[in-house]
């Protein structure tokens, strides 16, 4: 079947579904009508999308951690702790990496090993293996909306189980869960598999149950210029909307320069609204800022700084929610205590800064740049696809028109190289095939010349490496030593 940005027909969907639900025995427990009834019966305060829209209306920023362990009782204990002690506004269920690669057999071994050793041997919650009943235990015992967070190229079975299981929000997308999360998986295939996920979401929406969807904003989390992740987020929002999704949160990973970060969140909201409207979709859009997604400092006090700085960007940009890091980030999966500390640190910043904002004039230039770049990227994809954004996206990646730095996927050109300017904003050092106007390219070059001059060295791959290490070594700009 040819890839198209077109709503999947009911027949096609059902055909796929039969196959999907047999990928692992727990698929047998999935029943759409029963899932809808279950979701519809959830109390209002457990509905993710609703809480987001309320926060957006009130101009508040909600906090959400990442968290997941192998076994249900421990996972519940963890989430309860983050809810009660960490004061999390929204909860996650982070899925383990075997499940993300559809290696359910390996996940099963991880579960067994975890039981045996008494510690979680998996880096997340294997929701497919635990099945619908396992998921519902999570939903029922918590008083906070819970989202599934993962990184799964083919998430169809996981989605079926999680939706029937009662999760009211779901992260991922055909681009954002492929390019940073896979090596050999065909982009066309993942876009198609995520159309399935979005169609399923649309079916719930049509049955009166609104499930929030969230493209994964930060991509590789490493020096991704805002316009690149904006383009991906907008495209995934368009793809989702076509399948009937009506509640979408677009995301962005903090780059570290405050003006660039605040401008990024504001333009992300504006541009996503603009494109969805332009192409005829009526969708409720909210935003999420991810605290620094690159390498963290090992020292916990220093890690708190990085967390606080991300919270500052979230608060001053009025992002609808912020995904929180922990003081253990550089070391390993955090304990529940460390996770709660990240949440509380974030909450203090957010409520402390609730009443402040950056001067809009100081954001103007940066917003113009991000807006112009994003339009170059998205419009070029439409052009390449002869009006079809799904087709255009695949062609754009093949041509390096969309290009994500440091991505493991061979479907990503990897020709573009980013680098910080002298104020720490992420700019483009080697544009590869990015379809930017001459003006925009000149802007980047000027910015990087200024830094090169200040440092007395030409931009090079070493400068990029220095920038990759910078935050973990206490700086934002990787100055020569």
């Amino acid at each position: 079947m040819e890839l198209r940005n077109k709503r999947i027909s009911d027949d096609d969907f059902q055909r796929q579904r039969e196959e999907v639900l047999t990928q692992w025995p727990t698929g047998a427990d999935v029943n759409f009508e029963e899932g809808v009834a279950y979701q519809a019966a959830l109390p209002e305060h457990k509905k993710f999308g609703k809480k987001l829209l309320e926060a957006k209306a009130e101009g508040r920023t909600l906090t959400q951690p990442r968290a997941g362990v192998a076994l249900i009782p421990e996972h519940l204990e963890l989430l309860s702790y983050l809810q009660d002690v960490g004061e999390a506004d929204l909860l996650p269920t982070t899925i383990d990496s075997y499940t993300r690669q559809n290696r359910y057999q390996k996940a099963e071994i991880g579960i067994e090993e975890s039981v045996k050793t008494g510690k979680s041997m998996l880096n997340g919650f294997p929701a497919v293996n635990h099945g619908v009943k396992g998921c519902r235990q999570i939903i029922e015992q918590l008083d906070t909306p819970v989202q599934v967070r993962h990184g799964t190229p083919d998430a169809r079975l996981l989605t079926e189980i999680c939706y029937t299981g009662g999760f009211t929000s779901y992260e991922g997308g055909g681009i954002s869960y492929n390019i940073p999360y896979a090596k050999n998986v065909d982009l066309e295939k993942t876009i198609r598999d995520w159309q399935y996920v979005d169609r399923l979401t649309g079916m719930y929406e049509e049955a009166g149950v609104s499930i929030n969807r969230e493209p994964f904003g930060p991509l590789t989390g490493t020096l991704v210029p805002p316009s690149i992740s904006h383009a991906v987020g907008i495209i995934e929002a368009l793809l989702a909307a076509e399948q009937g999704v009506r509640n979408i949160t677009v995301g962005y990973g903090q780059c570290g320069n405050l003006v660039q970060d605040v401008a990024a969140i504001q333009t992300l909201q504006e541009l996503t609204d603009e494109y969805l409207t332009k192409y005829g979709y009526k969708v409720d859009v909210t935003t999420v800022l991810h605290q620094w997604m690159g390498g963290f400092p090992q020292d916990e006090a220093k890690a708190f700084s990085v967390i606080a700085w991300g919270s500052t960007a979230a608060a001053l940009s009025r992002a609808t929610k912020v995904i929180v890091k922990t003081p253990h980030e550089a070391m390993g999966i955090p304990t529940k205590e460390a996770n709660a500390q990240g949440l509380l640190c974030t909450k203090q910043v957010i409520s402390m800064l609730q009443d402040q904002a950056l001067d809009p004039n100081s954001l103007k230039l940066e917003k113009e740049i991000i807006t112009a770049e994003t339009r170059c990227l998205v419009d070029k994809c439409f052009e390449l696809g002869e009006g079809d954004i799904a087709v255009g996206t695949v062609r754009a990646f093949a041509a390096g028109i969309l290009d994500v730095p440091f991505a493991p996927s061979r479907f990503n050109a990897g020709k573009m190289l980013p680098c910080r300017d002298n104020e720490g904003a992420v700019r483009i050092f080697a544009p590869g095939n990015l379809p930017f106007s001459a003006d925009l390219l000149a802007f980047h070059q000027d910015k990087l010349s200024a830094r090169a001059k200040a440092e007395g060295r030409a931009p090079s791959f070493q400068m990029v490496i220095d920038d990759v290490y910078a935050i973990s070594k206490g700086r934002l700009v990787g100055r020569p030593r």
């Binding site: 383990d96 990496s97 075997y98 993300r100 690669q101 290696r103 390996k106 071994i109 991880g110 090993e113 510690k119 979680s120 041997m121 998996l122 880096n123 990184g151 940073p180 999360y181 896979a182 090596k183 050999n184 590789t220 490493t222 690159g294 390498g295 090992q298 253990h328 550089a330 070391m331 390993g332 999966i333 955090p334 304990t335 460390a338 440091f406 991505a407 493991p408 791959f461 490496i465 990759v468 973990s472």
Partner: protein
């Protein structure tokens, strides 16, 4: 002198690509010939590549927490494949969570790794040990 050969990769279902790209750059720059398998590398792929290229060492990265599950048995498989003596390094965030490094190191040494490196080890440190273990002198 001929360049020593390293097979480099990120083991298991792990996709953390940034450190891998930097290690490739750093090891190459330090004078090694690097056969970089990238991310999502199975034990079998490591061993095949090492045999095919007659490599001097296998350098395994694991960042995502499943390192312990993924690395078990690698030394035995090397032995079965006839390269039982090959130098085996592992580094990164090789276990789930923040654990005392000495214990982690011991567990991986028991699995047959020659050297074990904790979170955030700089490439330079790895290079220094490689030169020592492979008798490289300049």
């Amino acid at each position: 002198m001929e360049k020593k050969k390293l097979v480099l990769g990120v083991i298991g279902a792990d996709v953390h690509a940034v450190g891998n790209k930097i290690l490739d750059h750093a090891f190459t720059h330090a004078g090694f010939e690097v056969i970089n398998l990238g991310v999502l590398v199975s034990q079998e792929e490591f061993i095949e590549a090492a045999i095919e290229t007659a490599a001097d060492a296998i350098v395994v990265s694991s960042l995502y927490g499943h390192g312990e599950l993924d690395c078990r048995g690698l030394r035995d498989k090397c032995k079965e494949a006839g390269i039982g003596d090959i130098l085996l390094y592992v580094g990164g965030n090789i276990v789930v969570g923040k654990q005392p490094f000495e214990e982690v190191e011991q567990r991986f040494k028991d699995m047959g790794f020659d050297r074990v490196f904790g979170p955030g080890t700089s490439p330079d440190e790895g290079i220094a040990f490689l030169k020592k273990d492979l008798n490289i002198t300049e």
